[in-house]
């Protein structure tokens, strides 16, 4: 009796863990890493980050808001041209890379010029997942982590 109870308890516990570990199966499971903002040289700035989706459901980044600017848009870069887009895919089990020379968050008409060492707060809004607030550390103008 005692043995059975122990075994049942162990099974219940591990099953519980299993469920908790994979609850993302039916929802996007988003995490933001590697965020930064190169120190701007004019009244506009670009922000870069990676959104990882460990869930089995895809999501989309639909907008970005920030106290730095009231005019924040998301841009794709193709063939040396950048164009505003309405959303970016964050694929299931994959990631959305906003990186130098590619897709980025664009801040226009900056309310102040952030300096290296400061932080810029942004709120990322998604189609399915709740908003994520992240601080973008301001790096030197030439910062480009993929080359380091």
């Amino acid at each position: 009796m005692n043995r059975r109870a122990t075994l049942a308890g162990v099974l219940a516990l591990t099953t519980g863990l299993t469920l908790a570990g994979c609850s993302s199966d039916s929802a996007p499971d988003l995490k933001v890493v590697g965020a930064y903002l190169p120190q701007p040289v004019s009244d506009m700035a670009a922000g870069f980050l990676v959104v990882q989706n460990n869930g089995d459901t895809g999501d989309r980044l639909t907008s970005v808001t920030s106290p730095l600017s009231d005019d924040v848009t998301i841009h794709e870069t193709k063939n040396q041209k950048m164009r505003k887009v309405s959303s970016f895919e964050v694929p299931a089990g994959g990631e959305l890379d906003l990186e130098r020379g590619g897709n980025h968050i664009m801040f226009m008409k900056l309310k102040q010029k952030p300096k290296q060492g400061e932080k810029v707060s942004v709120e990322l809004h998604f189609e399915k997942a709740g908003p994520i607030t992240v601080d973008l550390p301001v790096k030197e103008t030439t910062h480009n982590p993929k080359k380091q």
Partner: protein, 219 residues
């Protein structure tokens, strides 16, 4: 007692295996995509030395002080870097100019004065001499900024293999401009454009190559 432990261990293992397989798909995908990313960008050297160099374009434009600037005359016999971009460009254009600026500061003073860095706008309607001057001087006051008629700029760019389209207004009112894909280095010996640098060239790579470019040598 022994049996209990063994049974429990088996139960654990089974449950763990289930847990792993249930989450396996997502992990696999993430792994394979990161591997693909790494192999997609193999790169050994920043500079591309041209077998057939370009003749320096015959460009006469307006500098940031509003004065006429004849590219051939002003840069004759001087090591020169040329880039086509626009100031409403938040990423690649300031990155390129700032990288070159950092590299230039590593040169001996006399060499710094020899090196000519010329930024030609691809969006002359929005980049006035004044706004271009302000933007450039925030990165390096010694850089030359040029503006003028778009067709003149486009023709000059085309002579050195740089394709640029005119800025285009989208339906939502935003303007889509285009920057050049490469920085071109002109030799002080031949006045020809003989080395290309892509937009992902770092300050360190420019720093390493500038002393050679100053002498008109292949980096």
């Amino acid at each position: 007692m022994r049996t209990t432990k063994a049974v429990t261990a088996v139960a654990f293992a089974a449950a763990a295996a289930l847990a792993l397989s249930a989450c396996g798909t997502a992990d696999d995908k993430a792994e394979s995509s990161s591997i693909a990313d790494v192999s997609a960008a193999p790169k050994n050297k920043a500079a591309t030395v041209l077998d057939q160099p370009f003749t320096k374009p015959n460009l006469v434009l307006t500098d940031t002080h509003g004065k006429e600037y004849d590219l051939r005359e002003a840069t004759k016999g001087k090591p020169t870097l040329i880039y086509f971009g626009y100031t409403k460009c938040p990423d690649v254009c300031p990155l390129t100019m700032s990288n070159i600026s950092l590299a230039k500061r590593e040169l001996p003073k006399a060499d710094q004065e020899k090196l000519q860095v010329v930024f030609v706008t691809t969006d002359p309607e929005r980049d006035t001499p004044a706004s271009l001057g302000k933007w450039l001087s925030a990165q390096d006051p010694s850089f030359t900024g040029l503006t003028g008629d778009f067709p003149t700029i486009q023709a000059g760019a085309r002579q050195i293999g740089i394709g640029i389209d005119a800025p285009k207004k989208e339906k939502d009112g935003t303007v889509v401009s285009m920057h050049g894909a490469q920085v071109i280095a002109f030799s002080p010996k031949t006045d020809e454009g003989y080395v290309l640098y892509g937009e992902d060239t770092t300050a360190e790579e420019y720093t390493k190559d500038l002393p050679k470019l100053l002498k008109g040598e292949a980096p």
